[in-house]
């Protein structure tokens, strides 16, 4: 049976949950879990004061329930096990995680999967800015997969080196900005400056609207991106289904950013000249 931690009341002050990993909580009894200290503002508070506790994390599963929109760092440095959040979470969910999986059934704050190296994150709602990017250290994700069923803010996949991000809704400005490599799929609209400064990597824009491509990208040929036929089953396996026909549709390829290394690719289902 999973360890269930349910918020007792709504907290407006930030709660640091970065140390509460399934592996650490697994050998503890509920009363021992309740005595763990959490940083709330500047004070150390017993976990049991904030959450009601039931079950055990012996099977490597931790379920957080309630409004955790002020809790940051859930799943920070996660290596194994599963974390489920039945509600919304704050910033830095899954930051620097190396393995395991996180499912957020609500929305997530900024920097989801910041600089993550492995594992999967599935957000059923929307995300804030800097998905996959850690603005404190200026580094992006180096592995793993993040899928978002809602929309995401600015700088999705900024400085991404490896790994995959897929967003079903729209994204804000500066997607895959300064990307070193990696793959980002956006099914909704993309904001301005997508791909600015990208060296390598791929951005798929699957919306029918004309994309806003920077003038320093060069229009390439139209082709069928067969990589999607490998990628889409992987995304489907973690609960993010995309119409498989996309893998067989002609897409317009843009090469760039020519101000950088210029080996990046933007694929757009819109065949026009771009906006």
């Amino acid at each position: 049976m999973a360890l269930h931690l349910t918020t007792r009341t709504h907290w407006t002050l930030p709660i640091d949950l970065s140390g509460e990993l399934p592996g650490l909580l697994a050998p503890l009894s509920p009363s021992e879990v309740g005595k763990r200290k959490l940083l709330v503002g500047r004070e150390q508070v017993d976990l049991g004061e904030i959450f009601s506790i039931s079950g055990s994390a012996g099977d490597g599963v931790v379920v957080w329930e309630g409004d955790l929109s002020t809790a940051f760092g859930i799943g920070h440095l996660l290596k194994e096990g599963q974390v489920t959040v039945r509600g919304s979470v704050g910033s830095y969910c899954g930051s620097q995680m190396k393995g395991g999986s996180i499912v957020v059934e609500g929305s997530a704050g900024t920097s989801v999967g910041a600089a993550m190296a492995g594992g999967t994150i599935h957000v059923l709602g929307s995300c804030g800015n800097d998905v996959g990017h850690d603005p404190r250290r200026g580094v992006g994700m180096t592995g793993g997969t993040i899928v978002v069923d809602g929309s995401a803010g600015t700088h999705v996949g900024r400085t991404i080196r490896r790994g995959t991000i897929a967003v079903r809704g729209s994204v804000g400005e500066g997607a895959v900005m300064d990307a070193i490599a990696g793959t980002v799929i956006v099914m909704g609209k993309s904001g301005r400056n997508a791909g600015s400064g990208m060296r390598r990597g791929s951005l798929f824009l699957l919306d029918d609207a004309p994309p806003e491509i920077l003038p320093t990208f060069q229009r390439g040929r139209s082709l069928k991106p067969l990589i999607l036929s490998l990628l889409l089953p992987h995304l489907a396996s973690i609960g993010f289904k995309i119409d498989p026909s996309f893998a067989h549709r002609d897409m317009r390829l843009y090469h760039g950013d020519m101000l950088s290394l210029g080996l990046g690719e933007i694929f757009s289902v819109h065949q026009g000249d771009g906006e």
Partner: protein
């Protein structure tokens, strides 16, 4: 119980004449002003009209007029006049019970006071607003990401033969900028002043400054990054799609090429950018500033160019420097865990208060309620607030504890930093019995 000593500072008349006075009314931070109290003013020193400021500048007059405080008690606790000792005790009670106090609004005070504020945030493990405004933070982040080639404004004055204004209107926002730094002064390498300089204005909305320009380039509104990508592409020899350039920037590629040629021929160029010119430019400031900085860096491969942001008045530059040298960080800092952690999910004090993620607030020499929506006003009413300010404002009137402090550059001295990082010593032009921000903050630090 003995009645507390209520300190009512006397009004002190201005001395006759002061020279080399620093004005903090805009980002120029002019330090060559002269002030003279008019002879008919002895009866009422609080009348801003009684102070003559030379050279005449509307922003300087407005700045000094705003500093002339009315008489009143040095400290009020919930509207009741008390001694400063009682006031500091009340602040201690507030900070001791708060789980996450906020210290904000530090951009109009001295470096010395800012340093004490950082110590206060560290001692009470609170949250410190380490930048002057969200826009200033965006430009700062852009500089961290792209790198910044810059100089002092004195170097611009002595060397620059090409001055580029990118979406900037210093004639209105920084009235003495042309006169002191960028266009008119005669410098060592530009001995004829304006005649040796070329003024280039690039932007989307023509303004008073663009009327003075030798070359004007007007591009489509909100397309700064696209325009700068084109300019960088030309410098890098990138093959550009001519139709796409025209469609995205509204300007022919030939115009951009001619402009690039002109800039490459400059001996020394300076680019000035105003992120606060319009709400639109403020929102996109991080991307626009980053692209500008990258462009200036590229220009330095063939000639010398420097970048300057036209900042707002006050000592925001000093705040960034103080926070950097005392904590090694920049931006909004949370000392809750005992070490400074940069908060990246909030932009302003307003964000923190509207989310109720702070439970006490201390504002130094600022009036945030003046700019806030009524909803945030009400939220601020839920938490105890401490205000250090020289005059009665919406924020001070609703404060739990209000220390009336001597205003910097009028009745208190200190150090401030100009936007180019040059430190200026500010001397008061009148004396005051009121304590300075620094003195009050030091008392509060000692309480911890």
């Amino acid at each position: 119980m003995a009645e507390p000593t209520i300190e009512t500072p006397p009004t002190v008349a201005l001395t006759d004449h002061h020279s080399d006075v620093v004005c903090m009314g805009c980002g120029c931070l002019c330090d060559d002003l002269s002030t003279q109290q008019r002879s008919d003013s002895s009866s009422d020193s609080a009348d801003p009209g009684m102070l003559t400021i030379l050279p005449a500048c509307s922003l300087a007059h407005e700045w000094f007029a705003g500093l002339m405080a009315e008489d009143g008690p040095a400290c009020l606790v919930r509207g009741r006049p008390v001694s400063i000792e009682e006031g500091t005790a009340a602040v201690r009670a507030i900070l001791a019970t708060a789980k996450r106090p906020l210290i904000a609004g530090l951009s109009n005070t001295s470096v010395e006071a800012q340093r004490e504020a950082v110590h206060l945030a560290e001692r009470w493990r609170g949250v410190l607003m380490g930048h002057a405004s969200p826009v200033a933070a965006r430009v700062h982040r852009a500089a961290q990401a792209a790198g910044l080639v810059t100089s002092t404004l004195g170097e611009v004055r002595q060397r620059a033969d090409v001055v580029v204004l990118w979406n900037a209107d210093p004639v209105v926002t920084h009235p003495r900028h042309f006169e002191r730094y960028s266009l008119h002064p005669k410098g060592r390498f530009v001995p004829r002043g304006r005649k040796d300089r070329q003024l280039i204005w690039i932007g989307s909305t023509p303004c008073a400054s663009s009327e003075l320009a030798d070359i004007k380039v007007i591009f489509a509104p909100g397309r700064d990054v696209e325009a700068l990508s084109v300019l960088q592409g030309i410098l890098n020899g990138v093959e550009l799609d001519e139709k796409m350039v025209l469609r995205q920037t509204g300007v022919s590629p030939d115009v951009w090429r001619d402009l690039s040629t002109t800039l490459r021929q400059a001996r020394y160029g300076a680019v000035f950018y105003d992120p606060n010119l319009s709400p639109e430019s403020a929102i996109h400031a991080e991307h626009d500033a980053r692209a500008l900085m990258q462009w200036v860096t590229l220009l330095n491969e063939t000639t010398s160019f420097v970048f300057h942001a036209l900042t707002e008045g006050g000592n925001g530059s000093g705040l960034e420097q103080v926070v950097a040298w005392t904590t090694g960080r920049s931006g909004i800092l949370d000392f809750g865990s005992g070490v400074p952690t940069v908060l990246t999910d909030v932009d302003s004090a307003q964000d923190l208060i509207s989310r109720r993620s702070v439970d006490a607030a201390l504002f130094v020499s600022s009036d945030p309620l003046r700019e806030w929506e009524p909803a945030e006003w009400r939220r601020l009413g839920f938490i105890p607030t401490v205000v250090l300010s020289n005059s009665s404002t919406a924020t001070s009137s609703s404060a739990t504890v209000w220390f009336r402090t001597a205003p910097l550059s009028y009745a208190a001295g200190g150090t401030v930093f100009r936007s180019d990082g040059v430190a200026l010593r500010v001397r008061p032009i009148t004396s005051s019995a009121l304590p300075s921000d620094e003195e009050i903050l030091r008392r509060l630090v000692c309480l911890a």
